[in-house]
């Protein structure tokens, strides 16, 4: 890894560590037409803030993270009014400058921990790749211990297939934290794990995030999991944020019917109320509010015009008929 850190990274940060305004992402199809998968996406994170992006499959939550990381494929088009990480303007930065952000400023962990590791290299080798050049084995072991790995020295000599899913995810968390990133994107990091191991990883992430004063963007479809690690959340539906606000208030008194629908669809609280219908695919988004065809509160205006943002203290909702003022 290139170890030239940007000089400004060393200074105390002022202002947001991540500032996204009006981000939109489109993919080019075989017919040379563009399909928009994410629109009007805003996210501003200060140092040490933990926020969550909640949404069902295809809502655009992973795309938002990949756009910031610069990991989208070549057929993607990223546009934004503002896209800044650390002190770098990602819209104008060279690929090399963007690359240098990965590690010290931006890091990411993914859903399938074992798929993210190279099966033919030891844990220690891969971990040291992520660490500053010349890091010692002792430092690698200390890093593994930091993320709660039992017997870290022995684990450094292990190959990925010798690890359980939970241990593999700890290795990836260690790799992501190796350069003390300002922002960690965690994309469904516990979805593939058992509940007992999920509880361990969530506790570890929440602890590290708070102790290291790192900003975290936790991406998940699971409202319960999100409520355990974040103090703020954005709810994404069909490529656009429909509501955002502080937790747990957002889940306690949602204003958007979709957020309420997600909560009602959670099993384990008496009567289950499914949301009828299907999430529309990108390219088939209805005009007006995209949730209108499935919404129990929809009226004529919802089908015609995109609702404006209604802003309260530290929350906002995009709905013509919100559940609360």
């Amino acid at each position: 890894m290139n170890s030239t850190a940007l000089p400004q990274q060393e200074q105390p940060r002022q202002g947001p560590v991540l500032d996204i305004q009006g981000l939109s992402v489109a993919f080019r199809s075989h017919h040379q037409t563009w399909t928009t998968v994410l629109e009007h996406f805003d996210l501003r994170l200060e140092q040490g803030q933990a926020t969550a992006i909640v949404g069902e499959s295809g809502s655009g939550k992973t795309v938002a993270a990949l756009a910031v990381m610069g990991l989208l494929p070549g057929y993607a088009r990223v546009e934004a009014r503002r896209l800044q990480a650390g002190n770098l303007d990602l819209l104008t930065a060279t690929p090399k400058a963007r690359r240098s952000l990965l590690g010290p400023t931006l890091a990411m962990i993914f859903q399938e921990p074992r798929a993210s590791l190279n099966p033919s290299l030891t844990v220690g080798y891969q971990l040291k790749e992520a660490m500053p050049r010349g890091s010692t084995t002792a430092a690698a072991a200390a890093l593994l211990a930091e993320v709660g790995m039992a017997d870290p020295r022995a684990r450094l000599r292990a190959f990925p297939h010798e690890l359980s899913g939970g241990m593999a995810q700890r290795v990836l968390i260690a790799m992501a934290l190796a350069r003390k990133p300002a922002v960690l994107f965690a994309d469904e990091p516990t979805t593939a794990l058992d509940v007992t191991v999920q509880a361990q990883i969530l506790a570890q992430l929440a602890d590290l995030q708070q102790r290291q004063r790192m900003a975290m963007v936790f991406i998940s479809h699971d409202l319960a999991v999100v409520s355990q690690v974040a103090r703020h959340a954005l709810v994404l539906y069909a490529g656009a944020v429909v509501e955002e606000g502080a937790l747990p208030e957002l889940f306690k008194h949602p204003a958007h019917p979709y957020t309420q629908g997600l909560i009602n669809a959670l099993p384990g609280q008496g009567d289950l109320q499914p949301i009828s219908g299907l999430v529309p695919s990108p390219g088939q988004w209805p005009p007006g509010c995209r949730f209108a065809p499935r919404c129990p509160r929809a009226s004529a205006v919802c089908h015609e015009t995109l609702p404006p943002w209604l802003t309260a203290d530290n929350s906002r909702v995009r709905c013509h008929h919100p559940l609360r003022p």
Partner: protein, 346 residues
Amino acid sequence: MTTLVAQGLVRHFPVRGKRVVQALNGVSFAMEGAVTLAIVGESGCGKSTLGRLVSLLDQPDAGTLHLNGQRIAAPGLAKVQPQVRRAIQTVFQDPWTSLNPRLTLGAILDEPLRLMTGGMNPARRREAVMEMAGHLGFAPEQLNRYPHMFSGGQRQRIAIGRALMLHPAVLVLDEPVSALDVSIQAQILALLLRLQRDYHLLMLFISHDLAVVRHIANQVLVLYLGKVMEVGPAAMVLDQPLHPYTKALQQAAPKLRLGAEPLAPHAPLPGDPPSPLDPPRGCVFHPRCPHTIAICRTEIPQPRLLEGRQVACHRAHEWPTEKEPGESATAPGEPGGGEPDRAADA
């Protein structure tokens, strides 16, 4: 009324070096009527192996399985009778891999009839397919569509419909909603409850999600390293667990945080389950159990009846649950007992 009884099911898989993966080690249960037994536990505990044995996709190394009094699985039992095969059908976890991409919805629903009914006439098969498609909420013109033209939830509905075409008595569902989004998951659970009533299905529901299980199951069986830790009515096992492992599973399940409580608390169980290649001596749970005493390390706890459920723990009697006055304990495996946590007409 359908009865399904498993007695001492054992399944060991030999691996290299004369070693053996002890996937199932003596699992018993008894069910009667249109009820749902949920099998819960962490990955590698033997949930799916048990599902495969009940589906008759695999044979036990010891133990028996009886359907309506007839022995349908035992070591060395010859070929499965076609009428038994028809009576037990399976729905798998991932609807993207369990449907043939080259068959249309109509052909997928028709296939079981074509293969297993021995010459049912095409007009009646067509009628049955149309009726099932209606039950599942598909329009007639969708019968000509292929699996890739449907969403995940629709595909899982197709898989459920296919399993019901032969009017089975038992439906085995292996993590049927794990691959689905929460709003779709709720639709599928509601459909399963409706179909269970309409078809009088005895369901075996394999899941790692206790909230889903609480919603759909009457009885719950908790597996750990191929052994039953606790089995009984869902309300008792999940709401007032006696086994430390059941308690830990319940505590580990993420809850929607609605108050001022702190973020992700400390995990209730450290580490991972031990390897089924080399299960611990004594109680298999003792290395992770917070209540281990000397006897747990040496003696295997026998299942015993306690507070309306069967539990395999040396110390289960030491932590009694609050019993509601006037409530009579239901023996595990007895029909009925333990209403799922939902309105009767969900």
